[in-house]
Symmetry: C2
Subunit: 365 residues, 2 copies
């Protein structure tokens, strides 16, 4: 019974670690509970199955493995995977061949378009066989590059091209019917006066525009006053749009390869997975995670029930932040069953996030 006296959590001896690693790596491949016989057969442990059984019992007592039922082999617990990821996983640098493949794929697409983010999701999906996730790099504070206005009766639709990040479109209601010529004048003026400014800086300008429309010495019905009012209204509206964009931590989540995950045997009769998908559509969740993630290089692994929403209890996330804090950040990563090839996923995510860093540096330099 000496074995059972070992502390539930604590330093595992090298042999136990080797066996834990073997169980996990076997289970990741076969998706069926791993027995002692299979281990001695496929991994040259230099031990008999009886000895291995003893160690397996220890690992189970330590909470790193479980038993679906008495006469089945062991499967890793979330804690088992956690231990594996933190201290047992092999080198997580991606083989050169795969690096090349990814670089090649990225080379095919043009810079400076949101295709990058879709491509990142697609690449991650195809390389890992799990679902790939990516968000666009969202700038910390949007700066205006150009504004374009089109008249529509007493409405105007606007296109707002920021210096970085994604284009915004919208509408604003005008205080009166305005023709295109006047709107173009307004847009030109604002393009000159507000270029490169952030939401806050534009907001600071707004009172001045309104003041110009209501100066004591000015006829409020004059064309000049009316146009000043219009300028103020437009400036206010685009500042609001930019402010809203700044407030959101994530603009859009691209995903690809959800079907890969669907195919995994543990989700064959998938009730659970549906809820995972809907949880994923909630951008707030990834946004929260983004807040928790530190360091551009670090890979964050969230295993099974470590994910706070219960729906995510059967899947793991391997995520990395990319970009420059304070400038623009986004998330890339993969989602898969907890039974996931973590080292490879970590390597792939790390490499792709590195590429995304390069991209951001390039675009925001």
């Amino acid at each position: 019974m000496a074995r059972r006296d070992r502390p539930a959590i604590g330093p595992l001896d090298a042999r136990a670690q080797a066996i834990l690693r073997a169980v996990i790596e076997e289970y990741v491949v076969t998706a069926t509970p791993v027995g002692s016989a299979a281990l001695v057969e496929r991994y040259h442990l230099g031990l008999s199955s009886a000895t291995v059984r003893g160690v397996l019992a220890d690992l189970e007592a330590a909470g790193l493995l479980t038993h679906p039922h008495t006469s089945a082999g062991r499967i890793p617990t979330d804690r088992g995977y956690r231990f594996y990821v933190e201290s047992l996983a092999d080198s997580t640098t991606l083989p050169a061949v795969e690096q090349l493949m990814i670089r090649h794929q990225f080379g095919q697409v043009q810079f400076a378009s949101d295709h990058w983010f879709r491509l990142a999701a697609t690449t991650l999906a195809s390389m890992t066989g799990s679902a790939g996730l990516a968000t666009a790099a969202k700038p910390a504070a949007v700066r205006l590059r150009r504004l374009d206005l089109v008249a529509q009766d007493h409405l105007a639709s606007f296109v707002l091209v920021p210096l970085e990040g994604t284009i915004k479109q919208g509408q604003l209601s005008l205080p009166r019917r305005v023709d295109q010529a006047e709107l173009t004048r307004v847009a030109n003026r604002l393009n000159v006066e507000l270029a490169g400014l952030t939401a806050a800086a534009i907001e600071a300008q707004v009172p001045a525009y309104y003041a110009a429309a209501t100066l004591p010495g000015i006829d409020h019905d004059s064309a000049q006053a009316r146009e000043a009012l219009l300028v103020g209204r437009v400036a206010e509206r685009i500042a609001r749009t930019m402010r809203e964009s700044d407030a959101a931590s994530i603009e859009e989540v691209y995903s690809d390869g959800l079907l890969n995950v669907m195919e995994a045997p543990e989700f064959a009769h998938s009730e659970k997975l549906r809820r995972v998908f809907t949880a994923l559509e909630n951008r707030a969740y990834l946004g929260d995670l983004l807040g928790m993630m530190t360091g551009s290089g670090r890979i964050h692994v969230f295993i099974g029930h470590e994910n706070t929403p219960a729906e995510m209890g059967d899947v793991s996330l391997v995520l990395a932040r990319y970009g420059r804090p304070g400038r623009a950040v986004g998330v890339v990563g993969v989602l898969g069953p907890t039974r996931m090839a973590y080292p490879h996923a970590i390597g792939t995510v790390g490499f792709v996030s590195g590429l995304m860093n390069e991209l951001v540096d390039h675009l925001y330099s």
Copy 2:
């Protein structure tokens, strides 16, 4: 045996039609083969099950129903659904309540953004319980509204805002390193000279720009000549981008509610569905269908194996074109199992496509 002598295809008497309709509507709800007893019980046919059995045998001989096996009830064939859709289906105008719900949803979102198309897909999905599909309205010939250029060494990234349709971004390589001030000059000039023009019209201008750079009397190294060359290069590139956009029949397919379809019992153990999804990602397919569809008001129904790709043999599409031919057209519709509530799907697609027509009229007026 008199019954068997009836022509395989031909005018069905009213009773046979009523029974066919009953079988289909029952099967759509229950998803299990329909027997004669169930029919006399739930539909007041004023007949005995034995008589109904006779009629069912006729309908099967006519190819409108099948038999999974001897002792099971009947299920409709693709031809049965086709007959139903064409001559038996109840009124396909959407109930006022549902019309209101849809209008309400559409009222929530801003005009003039691509949210409309996503919204159409989402609405169709939620209203029909199938998957919703929508493509953006693609203009027949893009016209330039505004061009924006940003320098990046010897590259420039451009944003091309068309008068209608979706914004395009891209990059072009420059013949030399160009600073932002010069690029802005170029953009301003092109914005003045090319505003409102189509790809063809812009292409027509390009030779003139190049000619200006190589006029006999001009110093080829002069700033003026070099800038004219640049103008030509940029004009050429944006014309190409617009031309490519014109050539594509569909720019992007939004879909929503694919999970709805996944949940249908016929796809519980879904090998097939995966292939459907991948087939759907191929935009060319919807593009081909778009070409086949005529008339803005008409709803097109493609049932099971009527779809040319074999993968689509187990699903049906209910699609409508919307927009103005020659100006801008797109597709909306739903995808679901062949066992689909066709009248309701047709009504919903019809109503939504009507709304999309209004939208296009509004935007392109």
